[in-house]
Symmetry: C2
Subunit: 341 residues, 2 copies
Amino acid sequence: MKPTVHDIARSAGVSLATVDRVLNGRPGVRHVTRERVEQAISSLGYVRDVAAANLAKGRTYSFAFVLPSNDNSFMISLHDEVGQAISRSGPERTRIRIVDVPPFDARALALALNQLAADMPDGIAFVAVEGEEVHAAVARLKEAGIAVVTLVSDLPGSARDHFAGIDNNAAGRTAANLLGRFLGGRDGTIAVVAGSMLVRDHRERLEGFSAVMSKDFPRFGVLPVMEARDDPALAAELLAALLASRSDIIGLYSLGAGNRGIVHALAEMAADARPMVVAHELNRTTTSALANGLIDAVLNQDAGHEVRSAIRVLKGKVEGLPVIAAQERIRIDIFLKDNMP
Amino acid sequence: MKPTVHDIARSAGVSLATVDRVLNGRPGVRHVTRERVEQAISSLGYVRDVAAANLAKGRTYSFAFVLPSNDNSFMISLHDEVGQAISRSGPERTRIRIVDVPPFDARALALALNQLAADMPDGIAFVAVEGEEVHAAVARLKEAGIAVVTLVSDLPGSARDHFAGIDNNAAGRTAANLLGRFLGGRDGTIAVVAGSMLVRDHRERLEGFSAVMSKDFPRFGVLPVMEARDDPALAAELLAALLASRSDIIGLYSLGAGNRGIVHALAEMAADARPMVVAHELNRTTTSALANGLIDAVLNQDAGHEVRSAIRVLKGKVEGLPVIAAQERIRIDIFLKDNMP
DNA sequence: CTGAAAGCGCTTACAG
DNA sequence: CTGAAAGCGCTTACAG
């Protein structure tokens, strides 16, 4: 039979309350007593039943997710995943709420973080935008003892506890690897469409992509990045204009959102004139574009994994546990038409 | 405040015991009483606290994993993942044990399943080998009321409750897609190395691979499959002999284990004579082969996901819950040198 | 600094 | 067919 607190208490000759104090590192136990209990714990091989502890505590953690009110499908699914977490938050003794902020807006984000601090939640997860005011807001949250996790896009150098997202530089390199190989011996130029160079994830993808392109596939020219602000209409317009103005575009890396516009522009072209395309995020648009050959590969980050990882890390931080890096690593998924879920 | 069994009892004017009987669909409740309780449950919006229920039940589920005592790294990591599940099985109120059987041996597998049946575990997961005796053993397990899940390799048409593994046909198609695209405009012949055509996962990969090859890349010839029984030495030998005997091999699909031998044979070749290679399962051998360019892409199934999914499904079956298909789908991961974990 | 007792939300014999 | 009481493994005031 697994040992319980009762066994520890009996073996150490103390009460349950004292065992609990030692177990939870609370003060008010004489050194000798503490040692006796610790001795019993390790000799019996006790491991705490977390579920029972939570039940007894009755404590519920309060977390907030600050998400950009972007209407692209990835952000929608991120919202949705947080929503699902909220709906199963009852039994998990967690109260989670969502705060919407305008996208690509450091001031608005910092403002939201500062306002949240007033409520003293146990933890906050947010999609970072770079900016001094955001760094300052994070520092303030940490001073207030609030756990902080960046989600999808990171804010390195800030006081945040953890980043729940993919290695975007590696994603860019992977895109270059695929695109370069798929293009085989052909010659021509590659175009890149991003959302905004203001968000770190897009910048890092571009860096990784450019690095591998110039190192492993120097034969292809890579055009300067076009920023479409994750807006399908703008993306369609920019791409259509480019494709109309020159005929040497054989590859396209769409590293942001707004793929609906890009697919639209591609569909207008003659099949044999279309570039090879690698895009990000598996959704309805990219799934059907993979199926009908308008897009050749899709890199994906699993929003559900990211949200669940962020919650696990926030809980751990509140309880003073370390992050298990291997468990929290978010993978870069590659989808071709044959391995779609 | 979330309603509890006490609230239901009070609101329905019955005792806790009666609430519990209704909640768990146990007999011995008058129809009118049951209706009153159900009314209270839905009007209060009650949802059961599973952790508390498990604590009170104190019941632990007993499961067995029947695994081939194969020494390839995938089977080792599968063992290892079950081992990890065992080590966290305390708090999860599950007792899991591993039963080893010789690989590729339907008789031995059936025997092990039959012997297990005598212990009456709550559920069994096993890596299927095809054979009449295995079908019969599964039927017997199900008759005894034991939950049964196939793992990694399926046994369709049998009485098993669920398959925890990837779509191997899709994996084969994905391999063909990658290999075909990577080879671009070149001409030549493709070789295929498998473990054994006796296990369904290998057969299905080959079918998917062949289908896409002949449909989308008819330019390449595909040689008859070589069976290396997941043995590195045998794989190295077969491949070396083939490569020595002909010079038109430009691609290789290694759909089983034993990649250590294959990488060894490849490393012997001049760099510019090496075929393009797609292999299965990310491990130390394939990871370093990806990094140094001996292998070009690796398809992977996550053994940890498969084991955890199998356990979730077994528990669900015991409790009479349906399988949530979307949650239990095991993905086919694609790794290139740039997106390795 | 330490302990006895009640309680978290559920389940389970047992009695009637 | 129904209920009172004890208990699962832990935590928390409260008293001393």
